[in-house]
Amino acid sequence: MVRSPTIRKLIFRDLRSSPGRFLAIFVMFALGAGFFAGLGNTAPSMRASADIYLHETRLADFRLISTYGWDSADVIEAAKLPGVESVMPRYSFTAKVARPDGIPSVFSIKSLPLNTSENSTSYLNRLVLKDGRLPAKSGECAVDAAYAIEIGDELTITDEIEGAEYGMIKTKTVTVVGKVDSPEYISYARGNSSLGNGEIDSFLYLPPAGMDSAYYTEICILMEETHGISAFSDAYKDIVDSSKDLLEDFALERAELRHRSIREEAEQYLRDGEADIATSEEELRDGQAEVDDGRAEANREFAKAKSDLQAGEQKLADGRAEYDKNATGLADGEAALSDAKAQVEQMKLLLQTLPPGPEHDGLAAQIAGAEAQIAQNETQLTMGRAALEEAAATLDAAAAELSRGWASYDSERWAAFSKLDDAQAEIDDGRTKIEDAKTDIAEARQDLDEMDEPEAFIFEREDNAAYSTFEPNAARIASLAATIPPFMFVIAALVCLTTMARLVEEHRTRIGTLKALGYGRGAIISIYLFYAIVCSLAGSVAGILAGINIFPSTIWFAYEGLYALGEFKLELRPAICLIALVAGVIVTVAATFASCYNEQRSPAAVLMRPRAPKAGKRVLLERATIIWKHLNFNQKVTMRNIFRYKKRLIMTIVGIAGCSALLLASFGIEDSIRSMADRQYEDIYHYNIYVMLKDDADPGIVKNELAVFGSRDSLSVSETSCTLLNGEINTNGFNTISAFVPEDAAELNEYILLRTMKGEPLSIENLSSGDSGAELPGVFLTDKLAAHMDVGPGDSLTIEDSDGNTAEAVVSGVTLNYVGAYVYMNSEAYENVFSKPPQYKSILMKLNSEYVDRVDEAVTEIMAIDGVEFAYSSSAMRELVFDIAENMDVVIMFIQQMSVMLAIVVLYNLININITEREREIATLKVLGYRPREVFLYFFSESSILTFIGALFGLLGGIVLHRQVINAIASEDASFPLRLEWGVLLLIAMTVTMLICVVVNTIMQPKLRRIDPVSSLKSPE
């Protein structure tokens, strides 16, 4: 560039002799290029670091879930799908888990694959072991490294479980053997469930040995094509979008297949059951017949036995009667015998009295005959007695026999009948059982008939909230990188311009001499270009080196609180560094040309003579005689001096304005970011809790139960996702757009304050319903959405529901909103747009005084209500949004530091130039006897007035810059407030700028002091 070695030497001497000048250009370009390259490389580095982590941990691109789970055939089929690299089936569910101290937490529980070795392709979502080891056998688990629990502790999975059956877990008490990070949880938020207060506290992984189930709950899929592609690139989105259709078809088809086979299996089972019942019934019938026969037989047998016994009884009685008769006969005989004996005795007595004679003889004969008779009778009687005794014995024996017979009859009969009764009872039992089985089968059949149609869900990485916030965060930094640094380059250009102009001015005579020596214009300009480029390139290089080493890693570490994405890796975009360098060079070249141009045109002779002093001029202010008269002498001098050099005045004002604009903008950005959450969740949303109902819940009942928490009637609302179309513009980039309908339109503003950007209230009540047909249904759009759709009040657009039905609506108002995208409408309009009545499945509620300070408790209690799917508090949402936004702080801090440094350098440079330019004037004042303080004030009043004016312009510019940056960093569904406490911010920015002015002036004081009065004697340059 500069060929002459002498000239080159001269340049380097110049550089060395005025380090202040070198430093000014150096620092400005270091700041500009450093900030640009640093911030510019931050987003790529963030993405690259995340990508490395996601790649190394093989995070699945998709998760397939069906309402009936998946079996191994499904897994095999999924692996065969075109484009699928690997599949990993697993169990995944949420459960309440009791810690050793008994406190339950909600855990997301997942199973690991069998093979967790490094080279196992089917090991997706790989865990990063922080401590311990992975679980290997049933009863072991690995836990979230962020969860406060020690290795060796035991956790107990309770039966409060969601997404799986309790029986699927083999061992409910598991020991922690490892602490891990999971790529599925890159943010500290662990997700939501309907258990507990709705928030998942942590996660744990079980080995496959710990699970016992015939089916899996989900299949994780990694695609082939997503390898080596950034997960945050459009290419990735394209691949995912195109694969998603395929997977959706597959999942639904397999789910249906699975549904059918489950159904068939169940039906077969039912049929088998019915057959079993039939067999059992047959058996029962046979049994009954047997019992009946048995009973008849027994009856018969026992009847005969009884009659036999009774006959025996009769015989005995007969015997007894005979015996009695015989005994009586015997007694009669004995009585007769005794009578006969007595007669014989009588006769014998008579005989004695009777003389023998016939009579006697007759008598004696008679007596002898009678005695013979008696003897005969006596023998007979004796024989009769013996026979009677014998008969008595026989009768006794028969009686004993008979009573034995009765006893055995009784016992046998009881035994026989109880046996029969038992058999009957058994049969009866069997009957009941069969009845029960029949009812069961009938019920099962009904269940089977009512079995839900299968549903399949596909989740991609984007569905993980942490991933969907990561990219906008990186993009925000990229936007900042694009908005702020150009501003810095402009200021750098300005500093370069003033500095080089001053240098050229100082070198007037030298330039003249060189010209006279025959150096061409180009040659001379190139000297100064070389000088400036050396300064700016050195600055740019140093700045870039510092920038890429400071910004990306610092910002990454700041984001570590929010995201756990492994190690930081600097991903350098050479193009960005090159742009920073080239921009610096271009700016320098342009500025140097501009400053050299005029000097260069003058002929050598003119240049060699001292420059004619710039003529003094009356300033405009003097025309305003009234003011001018009231200024004291020093003020007049200050005013004159300020307006003396228009160029310097403008440079100074613009330079300071730039810095204070940046400063104010950075304060404003910080404020906007920090206040966004409060604005949304306190100023716009006035409800405390959002309750979402289950599909089958009865809103009326739930509302009744909610009444204990609320301060007033709650508001039922309907939220339906929809898309908007306006010509070519659509809302595909948005996460979700909700068509929001309150049940009671008049109540809405009590819960959600709809206002225009100017603060005028908007009422959904008076919106046109579109009933008449002549006019379209009216809707309110949130501001960012309206801006995106390029519509304003009065414009119409097309609303499309999730089924693809479209309808026209007119935008009746645009409402201020920061988080999310909504289309507000009343129920009539909804019906006219969507051709169906809104489903009020959500409830907004304000807590009463009892609960308002115990929001978390209220949420937990509300979650426990039947029919509540989930509930969350707006304060929790506010915190979440705030935390995410707060991470921008470190970037904002950088901007603030940069703008302070810029301001210092700009002021230092300008004051420095001002002083060197006016060294003679200062020396003269010193000779005249100005005291150091007076000399300082003479200058300070000038620069502080200039700073003040510059800052005033800058503050105006800052508001504009703030708006620009805020618009740049807003994502589709999150924007930041533009209206701030500007008064306070302006005051702060002004104070800081003025403070910098005071500091720099104070720093410059020694330089003023050092000016030797003797130098006033030098001839003017």
């Binding site: 003529a615 020093n634 004037e921 004042l925 005249l928 006897g929 005291r931 006033s1016 004697l1017 001839s1019």
Partner: protein, 234 residues
């Protein structure tokens, strides 16, 4: 009554490496109050050095310098500033007017801080510039600018007026006007004037002539009857 100015064995030595330059080499002299004193010598003789030390903008290496009994060589920085402020008026070769101020304002710069200043407008009128009060230096000729400079020095009403080659940048005719102005002041007021020139002809207008060569005072002449400026020729 002792002399107003007294130089006693004053040395000013510049040490640059091995070489020692004696800008003033044992300079001793006195000047009486109300005199017009001209210092003559070739370029590099040490005249400016002498004047600067007298004016309190430079310090002697050794020796004593006093003005009206006060030892300037003993002054600290602050005292030097006050000394320049109240006792000394400076007229430079290149006028050193503040370009951004009008003639009147340039004078006011000095009177603003003086203890007993003269009226700026009157002072300007007395140097013949009553009609140029509101002009900026760039609108004035060299002679006029130098007159403004003189007015600025005079208006402070100093004890001593120091002029370092006030005519150096002016043509002869204009130079003479300036000299006339200065001699007239020295004669008619009790202000003392020290004037430097390398032109020995000018010495004839002085009450006292100090001749210098290589830092040494080679002679001090007193001139009972100085020539009027109009009579000298160069």
């Amino acid at each position: 009554m002792s002399a107003l100015i007294e130089f006693k064995n004053v040395y000013k030595i510049y040490q640059s490496g091995e070489v020692e330059i004696r800008a003033l080499d044992d300079a001793s002299f006195t000047v009486e109050k109300g005199e017009l004193c001209v210092v003559v010598g070739q370029s590099g003789a040490g005249k400016t050095t002498l004047l600067n030390i007298m004016g309190g903008i430079d310090r002697a290496t050794s020796g004593e310098v006093s003005l009206d009994g006060a030892y300037v060589t003993d002054f600290n920085k602050k005292q030097l500033t006050e000394y320049r402020r109240h006792d000394i008026g400076f007229v430079f070769q290149f006028y050193n007017l503040i370009q951004n101020l009008t003639a009147l304002e340039n004078v006011e710069v000095a009177t603003e801080m003086g203890e007993d200043p003269l009226d700026p407008a009157e002072t300007l009128a007395s140097v013949g510039l009553s009609h140029r009060l509101k002009n900026f230096p760039a609108q004035l000729s060299g002679g006029e600018q130098q007159r403004v400079a003189i007015a600025r020095a005079l208006a402070k009403n100093p004890k001593l007026l120091l002029c370092d080659e006030p005519t150096g940048a002016l043509d002869d005719e204009t130079g003479k006007h300036i000299l006339e102005l200065l001699t007239e002041r020295a004669k008619n007021t009790d202000m003392t004037v020290m004037l430097i020139t390398h032109n020995s002809v000018i010495a004839e207008i002085a009450n006292r002539v100090i001749r210098m060569k290589s830092g040494k005072i080679t002679g001090v002449d007193t001139n009972e009857h100085p020539k009027p400026v109009s009579e000298i020729e160069w």
